[in-house]
């Protein structure tokens, strides 16, 4: 046993290792990504990036049926994609233990919505555990595999950003050997056709009864009694906020198993305390359960449905206490994230802005193209929606086709854009789709994907040929442009919007942050030539600013992409 300072996600990966997990398949998504990155460092575990979360979940299901302890990880919205296999894997149950990690993002640090994944546990009738810190991330992961095999069910480990991305001390130990279990053909268990699924549903309902008995008895749901005037029912990181704010002024029921929830344990705890608060981020999930049991609790009437909680939110709501602090007597400009200097998306977005088209956007770094000064995005819904929503837009009004495009990254295209492109080809809309191929999954921190030619370990792998793929599904017009070349890019966009058939533009240039990308020397502004017209500012490059009426280029940021050089009408930007 050794104590180590581990990121929550790293502790989950360590738990996978120690539990003898053999197969890991995931799609990256903040804040879940590092689980799989750390898992890939253990040679004993087969790890991979899958094209999307549905595939990842099915890989884990297949590995489990084959007898291996298996895992898939994803962010909250990824579970929407993996929901299909989840709901039925709940019926089939497992052979080798199977765990699914889902990371919710209260406060939306890097997400498009604030969905509460606990509802998925209840809806799919799948056991869910929720750790509060790195120590529990490791412990609960190991328990998840035991519980999975004991109850014949996949087990979901629910994380939130603050648990996934906080470091804390955790106790590590050696890997336990979990040999492959024998696979026996058993269609009644694994072929979910109506005749076999009906008895499995009976099994699932009985399983919930048994799991509830476990939730009543097991110490994973812990009671701590101090002052009984205030009783707190909570789970996950909210337990830490409550403990920090209230200390021994309150008693606690900390729920480590959030589905199924215990009943008697909650009723007994509530009977011991005078005033009961349920402290949980996002939806009133535990609160509604308590109310169903007839317990009077305070929850969303004093706490918000939005964002992350904290010790001060708890202290204010329950004790009415607030800390003193100072503020500046000046306006402080915000600092939103931006496309990096040298980002290949910049030239493409500037070209789209110039063309004045509506842009159906997608999920990735390029969503930042929405912000000023580029302002080149009209919609962003979910992974893949750019292409299919463009098709809908153009079918709603065929005139839109000449002034609308879809933009989607290479990884997002593989994830769920390709099906939309098939729709465009099959149902023949004159849509113009642009794939921003920067040779990596960018926003989540540079993961390989099926188009990059490398696997999760960085070893050579089969690369999807996007041009051949597009042709094979029936897209006849495919153009490749370099987004550093504004003229070429603008001409291609203009031409493809004009034609009356589906077209695909691949805007191809690797992410400027990739280690193998060689940068040019930083550019300089010739002060004598610069007229201070601010044309170069229109591309929103963080390396360019104005000082004393002239443009200035920050040498620490500039990578010499020369997109600004093409903007300048006076030749003032030089090598």
């Amino acid at each position: 046993m050794a104590k180590k300072l581990l990121l929550g996600n790293e502790a989950v990966a360590r738990g996978l290792y120690e539990a003898g997990c053999r197969v890991v398949s995931s799609y990256p998504g903040t804040p879940s990504t590092e689980i799989t990155e750390f898992a890939a460092k253990y040679d004993e575990i087969y790890s991979e990036w899958a094209p999307n979360e549905k595939v990842a979940c099915e890989v884990a299901v297949g590995a489990s049926i084959a007898g291996a302890r298996s895992f898939c990880g994803m962010k909250h919205v990824g579970l929407n994609v993996a929901a299909d296999p989840l709901f039925t894997a709940s019926y089939t149950g497992v052979n080798g233990g199977m765990m699914i990690a889902v990371a919710d993002d209260p406060g939306m640090h890097s997400s498009q919505n604030e969905q509460d994944s606990r509802h998925y546990a209840e809806a799919s009738k799948t056991m869910m555990l929720e750790p509060a810190d790195s120590k529990e991330c490791l412990e609960y992961t190991k328990r998840a595999f035991e519980l999975s095999e004991k109850f014949d069910t996949p087990v979901i480990l629910r994380l939130t950003t603050r648990v996934a991305h906080s470091r804390g001390l955790a106790e590590t130990s050696d890997r336990t050997d979990a040999p492959l279990k024998e696979y026996t053909k058993n269609p009644q268990k694994y072929v979910m056709m109506p005749a076999f699924a009906k008895p499995r549903h009976v099994f699932v309902e009985q399983r919930i009864v048994e799991q509830t008995a476990f939730a009543e008895e097991d110490e994973i749901n812990t009671v701590e009694y101090y002052d009984k005037k205030i009783g707190v029912i909570t789970a996950g990181n909210c337990y830490n906020y409550a403990k920090e704010a209230l200390g021994e002024k309150a008693s606690y029921l900390k729920l480590g198993c959030v589905y199924p929830l215990p009943e008697k344990k909650i009723i007994d705890f509530a009977a011991q305390c005078e005033k009961i608060y349920v402290i949980e981020e996002l939806d009133p999930y535990i609160e509604n359960h308590c109310k169903k049991l007839g317990i009077k609790v305070y929850g969303k009437d004093v706490f918000t449905l939005q964002g992350e909680y904290s010790q001060s939110i708890v202290a204010k709501a329950i004790l009415g206490e607030e800390k003193e602090f100072s503020v500046m007597d000046m306006d402080i400009p915000g600092r939103p994230p931006v496309l990096c200097a040298g980002c290949p998306h910049r030239g493409l977005f500037y070209s789209l802005k110039k063309e004045g088209v509506a842009v159906c956007g997608d999920i990735g770094c390029y969503t930042l193209g929405t912000l000023a000064p580029l302002g080149a995005m009209d919609t962003c819904i979910c992974m893949g929606a750019s292409i299919s929503s463009l098709h809908g837009r153009n079918k709603a009004n065929p005139e839109n086709a000449k002034k609308s495009v879809a933009v989607i990254g290479d990884s997002t295209f593989i994830h769920s854009g390709v099906t939309g492109l098939i729709d465009i080809a099959y149902n023949n809309s004159a849509s113009t789709v642009i794939i921003l191929d920067n040779s990596i999954t960018g926003m989540t921190g540079h993961q390989e994907n099926p188009t990059t030619g490398k696997n999760i370990k960085g070893d050579p792998a089969t690369a999807v040929d996007i041009v051949a793929l597009a042709k094979a599904i029936g897209i006849k017009r495919v153009t490749i442009v370099d987004p550093y070349n504004l003229k070429e890019t603008q001409e291609a966009i203009h031409k493809e919007l004009e034609v009356d058939e589906p077209s695909l533009i691949i805007s191809r240039r690797p992410c400027a942050l990739l280690k193998y990308v060689k940068h040019n020397p930083p550019l300089k502004v010739n002060k004598d030539k610069c007229r201070g017209c601010k044309m170069c500012m229109k591309i929103g490059c963080p390396a360019i600013s104005m000082a004393d009426g002239k443009a200035v280029i920050d040498f620490t940021q500039c990578v010499g992409c020369s997109v600004c050089t093409q903007m300048c009408n006076f030749g003032a930007i030089e090598e």
Partner: protein
């Protein structure tokens, strides 16, 4: 010991995560409980970034709220101003005087405020220094984080040797000398 709260704030790409790792490792080598909270993803692309480090006998919450930080390490002056409300009464801010224009300033929507450091000095205990120049003196502009940790080390209870050992263990061997020099430049900095 009551828990001690440090906030590390800066601009995405400035190396705040390495600073929090150093501090976290120093704290555990002294036998404390510790929690470090970071934000990954979207906010790293040139946005405002925050890391919380809390340590003590037993730490519950991984985050720091308004009026709670004993120490704020700011890698850029506007970020020091932004997070001033998080400082506890009597707390200290160590601030790098470097200015990095945020996008609303670049696009001309607003201006970078004047007199940030002066006003901070009226409101809190401030150590302000040009850590970028010291980092360049040590050998690279990227060592701003280590220079700042050198300054911070003087305001914390751990021995200098603890910090030096942690730096040696945390940074790649080929950058060891450079980083130790950057640390020393920060440690010996006098206002």
């Amino acid at each position: 010991m009551k828990s001690y709260s440090v906030m590390i704030v800066g601009v995405g790409g400035q190396g705040t995560l390495l600073a929090s790792r150093l501090l976290g490792n120093a704290v555990i080598s002294e036998g404390y409980d510790v929690k470090v909270s970071e934000v990954h993803g979207m906010s790293q692309r040139g946005g405002s970034v925050i890391t919380y480090v809390r340590f003590g006998e037993k730490v519950a919450s991984p985050i720091i709220e308004k009026g709670e930080a004993d120490l704020i390490i700011a890698f850029e002056q506007l970020e020091a101003a932004r997070y001033l409300p998080y400082l506890k009464k009597g707390g200290r801010i160590v601030v790098n005087t470097q200015k990095i224009d945020p996008m609303p300033v670049v696009t001309g929507v607003t201006t970078y405020p004047d007199g940030v450091i002066e006003q901070l000095k009226e409101k809190a205990n401030i150590t302000a220094l040009d850590a970028l120049s010291l980092a360049v003196e040590a050998g690279t502009s990227k060592a701003v984080n280590i220079v700042l940790m050198g300054v911070v080390a003087k305001h914390m209870e751990f021995k200098k040797e603890v910090w030096e050992k942690v730096i040696e263990e945390t940074v790649p061997p080929k950058f060891k000398e450079l980083n130790l020099k950057a640390f020393e430049l920060g440690y010996s900095y006098e206002e």
